[in-house]
């Protein structure tokens, strides 16, 4: 996924000299290719994220197309007010790329873990929120972000969980992508975003072979009609994300369901808590109950009416 990101960025920058990459002194090896291919379009703004976002607004106002890169703990969370006032307020064409979302920096603790970024970003008007699951979705998201008439937050989480799509998968902003077709009249549907799409497929293949699975790379805007259709057809809709259950994709689905197609929505994500310990990425998923066994257990109890 990171290679897809880097390739897309280089391609966009070579095609349009107005594309600029601003980084807050992050992305050491990630931008080797960009710096080699487009050195004049690379700006290291230093360890000064607030100023970097304000500058991106100024650059966009005079005609440039800035991509602003940082860790998702900082972009968008640390600079949320700059995004709101300086950028999104006027639909400036700035793309914010938040890397390492969720528990990617599993050993580094709370400062580098971001499980509130979707909730923060999606409440800001004029700001689209994209969350690709694999390299193919990333390529499509970069194209969407560049074409979008407004500001974009692109969330990049755990990037090495393999492909969920066998082939390149262009899509329209808002679209849900089926990654496993449901059997007729099945009771459970699973929606997931980012890193958790792989997990959703693992759970479905091992425990719910009839269930359909959808990847949701566009959290805002989202095709409400399709979400409502899924809710109408299933007694239980399970939503999995490496993000807080407050304000993320689970909330999006629950909000749509409650207004348009009431059904039982199980939000599986981070349950309003910080990580206590450190360890591998998979250790932290386990700590937060986001490993396959824990998730299957939660789904089973929910379906049985026990939780």
């Amino acid at each position: 996924m990171r290679a897809a990101f880097s390739d897309a960025l280089v391609r966009l920058a070579k095609a349009d000299p107005k594309v600029l990459l601003l980084t807050g002194d992050h992305g050491y090896a990630l931008f080797d290719n960009f710096r080699r291919e487009c050195p004049a379009q690379y700006i290291n703004a230093g360890i000064a994220e607030q100023n970097m976002v304000g500058m991106a607004a100024g650059l966009a106002r005079v005609g440039f197309r800035p991509f602003v890169y940082g860790l998702s703990a900082f972009i968008p969370v640390r600079v949320l007010e700059q995004i709101k006032l300086d950028v999104a307020h006027d639909k400036l064409p700035v793309v914010f790329v938040g890397d390492g979302a969720g528990f990617v920096y599993s050993h580094l603790g709370t400062s580098h873990q971001a499980t509130e970024d979707i909730a923060c970003a999606r409440s800001i008007p004029n700001l689209a929120v994209l969350s690709p699951a694999d390299g193919h979705e990333m390529s499509a998201c970069m194209e969407i972000a560049f074409q979008h008439a407004g500001s974009v937050y692109l969330r990049m989480g755990k990037s090495d969980r393999g492909h969920v799509h066998p082939h390149p998968r262009p899509f329209a902003i808002g679209q849900l992508l089926s990654v496993k077709e449901p059997a007729p009249n099945v009771a459970i549907a699973i929606l997931a975003t980012g890193s958790m799409v792989t997990t959703a497929l693992e759970i479905a293949n091992s425990h719910y072979p009839d269930a359909g699975v959808w990847s949701v790379p566009s959290i805002k805007p989202i095709d409400e009609y399709t979400v409502a259709e899924i809710c109408l057809r299933h007694a239980t809709v399970v939503v999995i994300e490496e993000h807080s259950i407050l304000g993320g994709l689970g909330s999006v689905v629950a909000e749509i369901a409650s207004e348009r197609a009431p059904t039982r929505v199980l939000r599986l994500g981070v349950r309003d808590r910080f990580s206590h310990f450190c360890g591998t990425y998979y250790y932290l998923l386990h700590e937060h109950g986001l490993d396959c066994d824990a998730l299957v257990s939660r789904i089973r109890r929910f379906v049985n009416g026990e939780a």
């Binding site: 703004a45 230093g46 500058m55 100024g58 650059l59 006032l85």
Partner: protein, 281 residues
């Protein structure tokens, strides 16, 4: 209601008479029963000189692509900028008599959706960085456009100001000028009592700026200093430290921070108008 409809074809004939501009601010503050009079009065001369002699708006169009940029980072002084925009014919009289009416679009702080206002400010420490970005962008494009960021002295408590100052100096943004309205007050009192700023000129110089300090109400001195800074051969970004008086022009408002918060009543409005009318041109 869109009271601020533009008249871009109307050429500027204004001399930016500071008496007229102060009266405009008083009229709108009284009409809208608004606050922030003192911090508008401290920048009247600065804005008059900038609009009269320095800012370039081809075709008198506030959205002209090749314009210079004036970023009012201290959005609280926006009434002074509205007064200039009236002089330019960008705002009509109804916008002033109807200030703060329900459904009107001129707000108590700068809103970038109004042509002529470059940023949405009021949350402090934002406009400076946006201005640095504009200066960087016009430098990359190779134009001769200039960017001014007008900040308050209280505002430079904010960290992003100094983040942006480092960046502007590192990238030799000689097309960028910060103007500090050093009126000595911030919301809760004197700057020297809240967060002592020391020598602001020396601070910007130590960050790599070429800086001058002037009397911010002496129009000739302001004009000369701006010309001198732009004429410099140095590639450093520029800083103009303007020593000003909060509430300047109305004796009972001068150096009195209550006029950051107080609304005019009939009596104080009449007295303020008389003071402005009687002051030296």
């Amino acid at each position: 209601m869109n009271a601020s409809s533009l008249s871009p074809s109307q050429p500027s004939r204004s001399s930016f008479d500071t008496k007229v501009m102060r009266k405009t601010v008083l009229d709108m503050a009284y009409a809208g029963s608004t606050v922030h009079i003192g911090c508008a009065f401290s920048i009247i001369e600065l804005l008059a000189v900038l609009y009269r002699s320095h800012l370039r708006y081809p075709g008198n169009d506030p959205l002209a692509t090749e314009r210079d940029y004036l970023v009012l980072s201290k959005g609280h002084g926006v009434m002074a900028q509205y007064a200039c925009m009236r002089e330019l014919g960008w705002l009509k009289d109804e916008a002033f008599s109807g200030y703060f009416a329900d459904g009107s679009d001129l707000k108590g702080l700068s809103d970038s959706r109004i042509p002529g206002l470059e940023v949405t400010s009021g949350s402090l420490g934002h406009g400076f960085s946006v201005g640095v970005g504009m200066a960087m962008g016009t430098k990359l494009r190779g134009t001769d456009q200039k960017t001014y960021a007008l900040v308050g002295d209280g505002e430079i408590n904010e960290g992003p100001i100094w983040e942006g100052a480092l960046f502007a100096a590192h990238h030799e943004l000689r097309n960028f000028m910060v103007i500090v309205d050093e009126n000595g007050f911030q919301a809760m009192g004197r700057t020297q009592d809240v967060i002592h700023l020391g020598n602001i000129q020396a601070k910007f110089e130590s960050f790599g700026f070429e800086a001058l300090s002037i009397d911010g109400h002496d129009e000739d001195a302001i004009d000369r200093a701006i010309k001198q800074l732009w004429a410099s051969q140095s590639t450093a970004p520029k800083a103009l430290i303007a020593k000003t008086v909060k509430g300047k022009g109305v004796p009972f408002m001068e150096h009195n921070n209550i006029w950051h918060y107080t609304r005019l009543d009939q009596d104080s409005y009449a007295k303020a108008l008389a003071a402005v009318a009687g002051s030296a041109a």
